[in-house]
Assembly symmetry: C2
Homo-oligomer: 324 residues x 2
Amino acid sequence: MARPADVRGLAERARRGEQLAVARLLSLVEDGAEAALREVAAALAAHSGRAHVVGVTGAPGVGKSTTTSAVVGALRARGRRVGVLAVDPSSPFSGGALLGDRVRMGEHATDEGVFIRSMATRGHLGGLAWSTPQALRVLDAAGCDVVLVETVGVGQSEIEVVGLADSTVVLLAPGMGDGVQAAKAGILEIADVFVVNKADRDGAGQTVRDLRQMLSFAERTGEDAWRPRVVRTVAARGEGVDDVVSALDAHREWLDRTGEGTRRRRARAEAEIRAIALEQLRNRIDDLRGTEAVPRLAERVLAGELDPYAAADELTTRLSAPGR
Amino acid sequence: MARPADVRGLAERARRGEQLAVARLLSLVEDGAEAALREVAAALAAHSGRAHVVGVTGAPGVGKSTTTSAVVGALRARGRRVGVLAVDPSSPFSGGALLGDRVRMGEHATDEGVFIRSMATRGHLGGLAWSTPQALRVLDAAGCDVVLVETVGVGQSEIEVVGLADSTVVLLAPGMGDGVQAAKAGILEIADVFVVNKADRDGAGQTVRDLRQMLSFAERTGEDAWRPRVVRTVAARGEGVDDVVSALDAHREWLDRTGEGTRRRRARAEAEIRAIALEQLRNRIDDLRGTEAVPRLAERVLAGELDPYAAADELTTRLSAPGR
């Protein structure tokens, strides 16, 4: 574990693009200790905000890792520095990291212009909420032009990650009933770019048509509104991948031109500040556990003397009291 | 929407077992408005804590609703009053309520000794966290001897609901790879009773053996430790359902005898008080949004002058300040 003094040194070296320093900062951040998160955030505050953060999401089996890897290649061919965060919320009911997927990223493993990290939580989804924004800061400060945040398609994590991204790519594949899924899941609202992968398979045309039709229903009004792009790819053969990059570039240009990019970043910063503040308050409540305050209140609730809302009022009053 | 004065009246009538009053209180609670939750909790505080709360969980397709319905029948045959809360966290990526499943409960719809409610959230899992405990209070105060809380097997909701239950039933079915799933998901630790449903199918014996073997590895030590029961059922034909009830009765007897029941209820009350207190603090932070405090801090974060942790410190200081 790096001592406090080391974080600033690591941050300096990470900013020069040293892979080892970046990796160590990412490990610190992934461990999720608040002190480390604080230090990393403080050391990098003045040096981030440049990278284009792209969320990549979609159901299992659509080819997320293959597509991400192919997009990395296309970005590298254009001379961009690229970060990849694969966020895998090892939910107790969803299963763990898909090691096989990670292996496919191997082709970029020796490229100095690519930083790859697979983030997992230790059973608690909340952990990623703290680690991921700081991990993005690390890759941003390390000079990445683009950071791809790939999420396993389980539950609500996509939506959390969408909140972190400037642009969001939703992957679909033909014949998975994705059209209906998409509408249901509200991903029409979150996707800036749709990628229909495995476009050489039967039904790809239908998936694209379904998607276009649903998009036409959900058309955003206003002259400057972004109209989500639909791109077909066969990521395993690299087909269509340049079009994905072009669509992302167009979206970033739109973000810059309309001020929407700044608006999203501001909203994201607000959400992050509030989340951290709330976590600090949560910790203060946990600290009160040691003081018998909560157990005593719980006894009164069990005895039927107090309802839990009234008990919570007593607790928050105590928190704000000067002599707690 | 019931006015404040009505809640106490409804609570009175619900305690006499009036179906309509119970239904209206459940609707109030399901709407999730804090004022209503507070009132219901206050009106029922002195009148709950008697029911045996049983969580029923398992992957989709194992026959949860059929089993729940059959268990309701077996409990009614023993003269018990029964509540059923079907908790369906319409997660954006998991799909909505399974209406077909609900319909099977129809046979109990005209029974005055059974209260059935299907709870859904409007896209936000957190909503159920507030509604479910108060809904349990309503059914408890209405004189239910047993309340079955059935959850759709998606993501982390099971674990939340387990926290609300005195006893937890985990359903499995043969040939679904459930053995491995069980071990992975940590359900060995949460289940007090395992039900292998569809036990007339191929592989049922194997599923039971797998389960017993895994349980033997995870054996809890101590003379008074509860050893999870494994029950085979064919719920659609009512087979084995009495054994489920007997296993649950045995578990409740164990909870009472060892003091574990009180310990669990105390822990549950503590968790509830802390969660409500935290929600109140969250609301106070949200209130600060209107004051420009958070946007101003966010601007400084975007400008690189402040990191989000330092910004959060400023926010919580302001919360505790007397003149906020």
